[in-house]
């Protein structure tokens, strides 16, 4: 038989099964459960366990077909040991009032999908109270971390009509909370309680809505009271699965099919067991801290209609019109997620300035830039951008959920950033809210005051991280340049170049004093003048003389007359090193104070804050002395200046001297060699 099958296989399927299954998946706006499962099977057959498991997970995200879930579960079981196990683990006992075998069977798969590795135990149906109480029970031997109370309304002991509704509900509530207490006391276990589904059959009809003693009203009240207790101190470690909401979503006559209830004690239809398994897993994972934290949003045709780059800031579909309303509704839903603590990020192939304009200027935008912790609008590929968002936020990629209308982008992220969850959006924007709302892994275990502020916190964190990141990479870049500076005094070999720089440098120029060559030559000969003529080399080039600092000594004050740098070396921390040399010059000359002046021009705004950054204080008495708008700055000469140390500095200025060769007045040796070198490597 084996060979017959193989022959069939060959006759019917000549193509590579993985390629064929991938083509099917790629051809669908929202890949079906079946297509994802077929791909998982093909990958499994090809021995690609990691991707097989990912697509098995994608298949159970895509639908609730029971047989498909069973198949996915088997496929996952087969490769369970081939893929990394989640760090979070739990022993989960399912205590049910009905046949929970299928639920228990699917729970390990659902939990693995939610990021928790579980081992399950199923208690005999209807025996949960006994198993909780009996120390010799299988449940005690199993010693669970989590107890799932999978019960249905039939198990709730409330009458069709109660005389004293309040008392009836409290008595029944006590019966359930005592189970929670047992689970917590005996095992220290957390509890996941399946909530009550109010049956659609109510003998009192609409009157039941007005009669607090009706069974429908009692069940609703019980559910409400369970929620209250679970939210209180007494309910610590207890979470509820809102089965009423799940059943309402699919329809209550789908949720429970009496034929299967009677024939097989299936209180929850097999059509809904996958849904229940998924949400039980989501609540359980949230209890264990495995929920997702950040929603990464595409923009064009996701957050608004149309392509921003084509239709412009005011041309995107938002607000008015059916299409616009759908996108607005989606934005409202996204904002509600943000309010419960989900961090928002944007990942869009767009020009950032245009995106910012759209956020700021389109009056229909409900989301503001303040709502977005990280905004990545560029032409970078999305998997890389998404990973960058995780890095900027300082969270794992497995905390991210990526939402995009474009199947190709989603597949790229699935393949290249596999830890990121991907939510497919349907073709029609009207379906966006449901698609995102049915995504279950933003579940949180509790709501705190900090949740609403979380985006702001992450935003601040991301900004710091980005600064650090850019500082880090800039520092690495500069360090990698292998920069070497030589600082020389004024001399015949450089006065011409100094005069030229004085005459033409505009941007990094503190005073823009255009001293002539004759002036410079006279400074060179005057011991009161202390100069730095700086030449810079790096591993790419010898930039020649690119920095000049001229200072004049008057008593104990060394005053900076001119300070400039060629624009090609701006931003390399060279000015900091020149300042370091200036401090050493001042100390060597016996000066106790440095003075500096900033004379603003149309082009030198970038150095307006230089003296302040270097620690100088403003000397308003000197303001205006050097022209209109000029500011004066002073600094008591420090022991030494801390510099970034990214430039190796070789100092050839004989400290405390003006003209080359002469030593300072306090120096004792007049015959000290004129070109004495102080070689100093300054590096960290």
């Amino acid at each position: 038989m084996q060979h017959v099958e193989a022959a069939d296989e060959q006759a019917g399927r000549s193509q590579d099964p993985v390629a064929r299954a991938l083509a099917t998946v790629s051809g669908e706006q929202v890949p079906t459960q079946r297509a994802c499962l077929d791909l998982a099977r093909a990958l499994s057959g090809a021995g690609d366990a990691g991707r097989a498991v990912r697509w098995a997970f994608a298949s159970i995200d895509a639908g609730e077909d029971f047989a498909g879930w069973l198949a996915a579960s088997r496929l996952w079981q087969r490769h369970r040991d081939d893929v990394p196990r989640p760090a979070r683990r739990a022993r989960v006992a399912v205590l049910g009032s009905y046949t929970t075998t299928q639920l228990t069977g699917l729970l390990p798969l659902a939990c693995a999908r939610a990021g928790v590795d579980v081992e399950v135990y199923e208690c005999g149906y209807g025996l949960y109270r006994q198993e909780l109480l009996d120390p010799s029970s299988g449940l005690h031997a199993f010693d669970p971390d989590v107890v799932v109370l999978a019960v249905d309304a039939a198990e709730v002991d409330l009458p069709q009509l109660a005389d004293d509704p309040e008392a009836a509900v409290e008595a029944e509530l006590g019966r359930w909370t005592s189970l929670w207490d047992l689970a917590r006391e005996r095992f220290g276990a957390r509890v996941v309680q399946h909530g009550v589904v109010v049956p659609p059959d109510e003998p009192l009809g609409h009157l039941a809505a007005r009669v607090p003693g009706s069974r429908s009203a009692l069940l609703r009240r019980l559910q409400e009271r369970m929620g209250e207790v679970a939210a209180s101190e007494a309910g610590r470690g207890v979470a509820l699965v809102d089965c009423e909401r799940l059943a309402s979503d699919v329809g209550k006559r789908v949720w429970s099919d009496p034929r299967y209830v009677h024939a097989a004690k299936q209180a929850v239809s097999l059509a809904c067991v996958p849904l229940l398994a998924r949400h039980t897993a989501a609540v359980l994972a949230a209890q264990l801290g495995a929920s997702r934290k950040c929603l990464v949003l595409d923009l064009d045709n996701t957050l608004w209609g149309g392509v921003l780059g084509e239709v412009g800031v005011h041309g995107i579909a938002l607000g008015a019109g059916a299409a616009g309303e759908a996108f607005s509704a989606f934005q409202r839903h996204v904002l509600a997620l943000k309010d419960k603590g989900v961090v928002l990020a944007v990942c869009s192939k767009n020009d950032e300035h245009l995106v910012r304009e759209a956020f700021e200027q389109n009056p229909e935008m409900l989301l503001s830039l303040d709502d977005v912790a990280v905004l990545r609008a560029s032409w970078q590929d999305k998997p890389t951008a998404v990973r960058g968002i995780a890095a900027a936020l300082g969270i794992g990629e497995d905390a991210l959920v990526f939402v995009d209308d474009n199947p190709a982008e989603r597949e790229a992220v699935r393949e290249l950033a596999p830890a990121v969850d991907v939510v497919p959006l349907p073709a029609e924007p009207a379906g966006y809210v449901a698609a995102l709302s049915r995504y279950p892994f933003f579940e949180t275990d509790a709501l705190t005051a900090e949740d609403a502020a979380r985006t702001a916190q992450y935003r601040a964190r991301a900004q710091v991280a980005e600064q650090r990141e850019s500082a880090g990479s800039l520092e690495d870049f500069l360090r990698g340049l292998d920069m070497r500076a030589e600082v020389a005094p004024l001399g015949p070999e450089n006065v011409a170049r100094v005069a030229q720089l004085l005459g033409k440098t505009n941007q990094f120029n503190l005073t823009t004093r255009r001293h002539s060559l004759a002036d410079v030559e006279s400074f060179a000969a005057d011991p009161a003048w202390h100069a730095q003529v700086v030449r810079l080399r790096d591993r790419f080039a010898d930039h020649g003389v690119v920095g000049v600092l001229l200072a004049r000594r008057a008593g104990a004050v060394l005053e900076v007359d001119s300070w400039l740098m060629s624009c090609r070396v701006i931003g390399r921390t060279l000015e900091d090193e020149m300042f370091g040399v200036l401090v050493r010059q001042a100390r060597a000359a016996g000066c106790t104070r440095l003075r500096g002046t900033y004379v603003p021009t149309a082009k030198n705004g970038q150095v307006a804050g230089l003296y302040e950054r270097l620690g100088f204080t403003r000397d308003e008495s000197a303001d205006g002395a050097a022209g209109e708008g000029a500011t004066g700055w002073v600094l008591e000469v420090p022991e030494e200046a801390a510099t970034p140390g990214l430039v190796a500095v070789q100092v050839d200025v004989a400290a405390g001297t003006g003209p080359r060769g002469a030593r300072g007045l306090q120096q004792d040796g007049d015959e000290v060699p004129a070109q004495r070198r102080q070689e100093q490597e300054v590096s960290r």
């Binding site: 038989m1 084996q2 099958e5 069939d8 019917g12 099977r41 077909d65 029971f66 047989a67 498909g68 069973l70 198949a71 088997r74 046949t99 075998t101 299928q102 034929r259 299967y260 009677h262 024939a263 097989a264 299936q266 239809s269 097999l270 059509a271």
Partner: protein
């Protein structure tokens, strides 16, 4: 693998869909069924699996078995003929 006698179900059409369900539910990709296959011929086809199979066939073919049918199909052949006529 079970003893299968009689005509094997094919991989296409109604037969293929029936096979798919049985393979998914029973977790056996190699499973073959014939007209005369019954539950006792197939490992794993117990009462729980039977419920799973019947439900999955209902959902695959969009039909509802009667209470009697849930337990009364004599063999795969009878089941398959019912589904073929319901799907036709």
């Amino acid at each position: 693998m079970s003893e299968t006698t009689g005509e094997l179900l094919g991989e296409d059409g109604v037969d293929g869909r029936v096979l798919r369900v049985f393979r998914d539910v029973l977790g056996d990709e190699e499973l073959q069924l014939s007209e005369t296959t019954t539950a006792k011929d197939v490992p794993g086809w117990d009462s729980l699996a039977h419920v799973n199979i019947m439900f999955s066939l209902e959902s695959e073919f969009g039909v509802q078995f009667t209470d009697a049918q849930m337990t009364s199909f004599a063999d795969v052949g009878e089941l398959r003929r019912f589904l073929a006529s319901a799907a036709g």
